[in-house]
Amino acid sequence: MKSNTLILHTAALAIMPLQLMFSVFLLLRGHDEPGGGFIGGLVAASAFVLYAFAFGAESTRRILRVSPRDLLAAGLLLGLASTLPALWSGQAMLTAHWWELPLPGNNYLKLSTVLIFDIGVYLAVLGTLMTFVIGLMESEE
């Protein structure tokens, strides 16, 4: 399935980067404001779905660079990996760990296992949806 309308092509090229940036924005701010890995993943997926509708499954695969299933696997792996620091320091599994990196201008960068986990959720959601959509589109061709 591939559309041939100029409007959709142009719009997809313009909107998709915005959507992807917005999805990362949602992911990163998710701990304090509305957002998070799940929502971010959905937005990212809809960006790629829009692209797929405009340019077809084959080119979507090309811009994803990795297979959607690998995205999914990477998400699961990150999710599991985020549980390890706690085990390493002898705490119960899944205990969150936080690291604050000082930045210039009296700011701090909050890094945590929770963030790693959220990125895992993001990738898992994106991978699942792209597996669905690309799989369905390819089966039509």
Partner: protein
């Protein structure tokens, strides 16, 4: 240190392929270093344990669930740990030679090492749940090892049988352990043993005992579950030597011994153990005598030994427990050795059938010598440790408080047959006229003989100076099973007494039996073939058949492939249960107050209702997809209106993507036709209305009354303090309830894999046709 000792087997298992590539055919020797080191480590604990100390090591695992990786070492677990690592060393060496050049050798070692680690975990665990995890791990590794030659259908069948019996028993055991936790209020063996609670007076005692016994009896192949063990001989011989004689099958015995101090007071416990143990002993001895395959003979004699051990725990006197520990150690030593020797014979002659072997001592002198030594211990003859153990057993039976004479008669009968069995595996193949075997026999290589030689020599030394091992560790083991300090007096020679006379008579009668074996065996075999039609194994097959029949019946009924029926059943069950609870707990009273609702809330509600009605009556698929989308957006509006932006955004995105997915699928569907009859449509309508009514009543009831404090206040208070996040929804997802989310993304992955394989398989089918 202790944690590392237990888990090192798993760690080494991971790198086995690399080790194999590095060391080639010496891989057995290289890997055996680990159990050798472990043996040394456990041996270094002997002085402390011998003084009556109990070592406790604490490691957290899942403290919230009461599950920990705590380890306890007392006399009993130390004896087991020494047997596991000591015999394991020789088994790994032996297997390197026995399976030399096998294409799956590294896979074999991976499972073997994992098994060793699980078994060590089992005997050292202090936590009941962890114990159970290791228990199941031994069942699973045993399954993989029995089915090691997975291209052989018979091996697969036997492996599955072993798994069903032991894992099925394992499930019952889990129930038993949970009941035990209820009774004692503790997850830890050491606490349960130290508390000295009168467990037998508790209401759950009966159920707990029955469940635990079923678990232990299936694992340790007690009558009527004994049939899986001989079938497990489909495994390569190193596996039989290790799992199915020396270690895994003793896990059930270990559990019985471990719990004996706290559960052994009940009469049920004593009688069940004595009677079933004695019947197992007799059954095993008889079947061993009437078999011809050398591994089957040894397997049945293992069944017999396991029965003896169970019976001795059941008697439970100080003397009986001493005999128990001695039989346990003696049996592991000689049976491990004999199995390896049987493997060597099979490897060098090409047959497992005793009737086809004869006069082998000329071509295999060293093998013959070691076999005879080990068989002496099996027969219970001086000066081997088996003799010490047997004498003690007779003496304890003479002084048993219950059923003394019955048990003694059974034990003497069994020991007569065991003398004959010992002859079968040592005299029959090696002496008498030479018979032609499929392969030209010659002595087994060094790696195959070192293990049996060392084990038999240990049995010899223990027999000559039994007070040595007793002083070091056996006394401590006896004390931990008996429940209080015990000082044993083991000796080879007790003077001429009743046990000695019984042994002498047993030897004589056993020799007579051995002589007449040639005539007796075919007749017994014929009887066994007829009897097996009514035996427990036939029952096992009938149960398995029944399970498949029930499964196919209920699948036809509930999962017949009509999606509508699935939905109907799900909705009916869910809402009937909900409605029932609602009516019985809350009653039927409505209080609807709509005064504070706004105009646009009504608009949204109306839109939702309208789209629902349209979706269910329209004949256009696209129309119904779109109107379901409208419904979703309506719900999202409600979320946003009641200030839940996260939910609102999620709902919007999910709705959008769902509509897209549905549209993608829509073109694949066959044209719209009416397949259901009017009656079916009215039935579906009724169910749908019912579900809607129940849900509405439930929502009104929720607004009406609050049974619990809202949990959201906890999250509001602690979200920033504990989890450093201001967005409570996200904090719940990724921190407070992270485990749930982790589970959910795995479910997501499973769904993706399912859809993907469905699409791919269909595409391939179309390709073919």
């Amino acid at each position: 240190m202790m944690l590392l000792a237990v888990l090192s087997g798993f760690l080494l298992a991971v790198v086995v392929p690399a080790v194999y590539r590095l060391t080639g055919q010496h891989v057995g020797w290289a890997l055996a270093l680990l159990p050798a080191l472990l043996t040394a480590y456990f041996a270094s604990l002997i002085p402390a344990i011998g003084d009556g100390e109990i070592i406790l090591v604490e490691n957290q695992w899942m403290p919230g669930l009461g599950v920990s990786l705590d380890f306890m070492i007392d006399g009993l677990s130390l004896v087991f740990a020494l047997l596991i690592s000591g015999i394991g060393t020789f088994i790994l060496i032996f297997a390197g030679s026995y399976l030399k050049g096998h294409k799956d050798l590294s896979r074999f070692y991976v499972i073997m090492l994992s098994f060793m680690a699980s078994m060590l975990g089992l005997v050292l665990s202090d936590n009941l749940i962890t114990f159970f995890v290791f228990w199941e791990l031994t069942s699973i590794t045993s399954y993989l090892l029995i089915g090691f030659n997975h291209e052989d259908a018979e091996a697969r069948k036997c492996a599955l049988q072993g798994l069903f019996v032991t894992a099925g028993g394992g499930l019952v055991l889990m129930a038993g352990l949970i009941l035990l936790i209820f009774i004692t209020g503790s997850y830890s063996f050491s606490e349960i043993l130290a508390s000295g609670l009168a467990v037998e007076e508790h209401g759950y005692y009966l159920a707990a005992v029955i469940c635990i016994l079923i678990g232990a009896f299936t694992k340790s192949a007690q009558v009527p579950f004994h049939f899986w063990l001989p079938n497990a001989m489909a495994a390569p011989t190193p596996v039989s030597a290790y799992l199915h004689s020396a270690t895994m099958v003793k896990a059930g015995i270990y559990l019985l011994a471990r719990l004996n101090p706290s559960m052994g007071e009940g009469l049920l416990w004593s009688y069940a153990l004595m009677i079933l143990g004695a019947s197992t002993m007799l059954t095993g001895a008889y079947l061993a005598f009437s078999s011809t395959g050398i591994k089957k003979v040894l397997a049945y004699s293992t069944v017999m030994a396991l029965g003896t051990l169970t019976m001795l725990i059941g008697i439970g006197t100080e003397l009986a427990i001493t005999a128990f520990i001695c039989v346990l150690v003696a049996h592991s030593l000689y049976k491990g050795a004999l199995f390896m020797l049987a493997g060597a014979m099979d490897h060098e002659t090409g047959t497992k059938d005793i009737t086809k072997m004869g006069g082998l001592w000329r071509s295999m002198p060293k093998t013959a010598m070691i076999t005879c030594l080990a068989a002496l211990s099996l027969a219970g003859l001086p000066p081997l440790f088996g003799f010490v153990a047997k004498e003690l057993m007779f003496e304890s039976l003479l002084n048993a408080p219950l059923l003394s004479w019955t048990l003694l008669a059974a034990a003497v009968t069994a020991s007569i047959m065991v003398v004959a069995v010992a002859g079968l595996v040592s005299i029959k193949p090696f002496f008498g006229p030479v018979r032609a075997t499929p392969k030209q026999p010659h002595d087994a290589p060094f790696a195959m003989l070192i293990g049996p030689a060392v084990l038999s020599l240990i049995a010899l030394v223990f027999g000559m100076v039994p007070f040595l091992p007793a002083g070091f560790v056996l006394d401590a083991a006896v004390s931990s099973v008996y429940g209080s300090g015990v000082q044993t007096a083991l000796a080879l020679w007790h003077g001429v007494n009743v046990p000695l006379m019984l042994s002498g008579a047993g030897l004589l009668a056993g020799s007579l039996l051995l002589v007449s074996w040639q005539q007796l065996q075919p007749r017994l075999y014929a009887i066994n073939t007829i009897a097996s039609r009514f035996g427990p194994e036939a029952g096992y097959f009938r149960i398995m058949l029944g399970i498949t029949q029930i499964a196919s019946w209920q699948t036809r009924l509930l999962q017949n492939g009509v999606l509508g029926i699935y939905l109907l059943i799900l909705v009916l069950v869910t809402f009937s249960l909900t409605g029932y609870t609602l009516l019985t707990r809350h009653g039927f009273h409505l209080s609807s107050d709509f005064s504070d609702s706004f105009f646009y809330e009504w608009v949204i509600a109306l839109m939702i209702v309208a789209s629902t009605v349209f979706a269910s009556v329209t004949k256009s698929r696209l129309g119904s997809v779109a109107s379901v989308g409208v419904l979703g957006f309506g719900v999202a509006l409600i979320f946003i209106h009641f200030s839940a932006p996260d939910l609102g955004i999620t709902q919007l995105l999910v709705e959008t993507l769902t509509v897209i997915l549905l549209v993608l699928v829509l073109f694949k569907l066959p044209p719209f036709v009416n397949l259901s009859s009017p009656w079916e449509r009215y039935r579906d309508l009724a169910v749908a209305v019912f579900a809607g009514v129940v849900m509405t009543l439930l929502m009104l009831a929720v607004l009406d009354i609050q049974y619990f404090d809202s949990i959201s206040s906890y999250y509001i208070e602690n979200s920033y303090g504990l989890a450093f996040g201001k967005n409570i929804v996200n904090v719940i997802l990724v921190d407070f309830r992270q485990l749930d989310t982790l589970g959910e993304i795995f479910v997501l992955a499973l769904a993706a894999m399912g859809v993907y394989s469905m699409i791919k398989l269909r595409a391939e089918d179309q390709h073919k046709s």
